[in-house]
């Protein structure tokens, strides 16, 4: 198994992932590590139904996904791993799911969030999560779709912000 892309996208599986990233990284398996979707059967079913049947989809709680990665059931797969938030990404990394690169896709706006790019809005907690990941050796970049330029996330932080 190899992880071809790890991405934070609050929309999880949607057009950008399936139409742009999957052909670009040649993924044949999408793994969604998200507790709330895993616990809502209908939501999970809808998400699975949006993926062509020739691709494998795994949607589960973060802990279960880590078990999945340590088992051999994903052998030979090219995995596209999705998180919905920085907190999930950090939690998974701390629990032993070691990815080396992290792509920031869509993190939508909300109260108290600062805009980093057109599609990325972060609050102070997100920033500290990402910093922690970076300290652990993860290379974090922002790129919405493959046709966009890849930019290191730190270059996007407005001056006077961040820790």
């Amino acid at each position: 198994m190899s992880i071809v892309l790890t991405r934070i996208d609050n929309r999880l599986i949607h057009g950008q992932v399936l139409e742009s990233w999957v052909p670009y990284v040649h993924a044949n398996c999408i793994v969604v590590a998200n507790d709330s979707v895993a616990e809502a059967p209908l939501k999970k079913m809808m998400m699975e139904a949006s993926v062509p049947s020739r691709m494998r989809v795994e949607i589960d709680r973060i802990e279960r996904i880590i078990e999945l990665f340590t088992s051999s059931s994903l052998d030979g797969m090219k995995v596209l791993l999705l998180f919905a938030s920085t907190a999930d990404a950090l939690r998974a990394h701390q629990a032993g799911l070691h990815y080396r690169h992290l792509n920031l896709g869509n993190l939508h706006a909300g109260a108290g969030k600062t805009r980093l790019s057109c599609t990325i809005f972060l609050d102070p907690e997100d920033l500290s999560d990402l910093e922690e990941l970076e300290d652990a050796g993860v290379d974090i970049t922002a790129r919405c779709i493959p046709a966009d330029a890849e930019r290191p996330w730190r270059k996007l932080i407005p001056k006077g912000r961040g820790a």
Partner: protein
Amino acid sequence: MAVTRITRIHVWLRLMLLQASWNFERLQGLGFFFAILPALKKIYAGKDLPQAAQKHLSYFNTHPYLTPSVVGAVIKLEEEQAAGLEAEFPINDFKEMVAAPYAAIGDALFWGGLRPLAAGVALFFAAKGILWAPLIFLLFYNLAPTWFRLAGYVRGYRQGIHSVEFMQRHRLPDWAIHTKEAAVVVLAGLSAFLVFQHLQQHQLPSWLGLFTLLPMILLGLFARKGISTLLLTLLTAIVILVTSLFWTDLAGWLETYKGY
């Protein structure tokens, strides 16, 4: 109070302007609010109305051709809620649940599959110099989107939350793949046609045409690597312009091969 047919048509017409205020913060959020407002006005009255409307201003985005399906179902859910029926599902959860999957399905089916297919078909006519080619494109392309916009809306309102079953049952993502495969075949035929036509015009031997596959595959690989289309186009144009400077020599060389 039930939403009348006239109001439902009003909402559907407003959906044509769904993305007029598309923005990076709420995406289609404001548009969703705008579209559904006439229905909310019928369901809620007085003080409740602004509150109920406020909910629909939140972050929302899906494929514009499939938003009518969502709006139809949401009107139904709002009606049920106002009538005091126990909600199967909180309305906001429903919107959130369908948004990304519908977007994925619509993007794959319409943008990724149908658009290149329709363009490929219409370009055959355009290459022949037929002025109706754009109309052929519009007719061919718009059939399916119009059906989804209309029937999806009607089904959404009729079935409420159960309208999602349609998407699951029909394996639309697989249909998207089939459409894309068809598009690849049509575009291949189109390329062959353009090359053949070109060679005939210049009275060049036809077998040369098979060599076009090579640069095309190369360009495709470059594109896959993420090199921008604009750069590839301009490079190709420059290569052709430079080659044309030596054209007379090349033409003389080809002349000797003619007739083989």
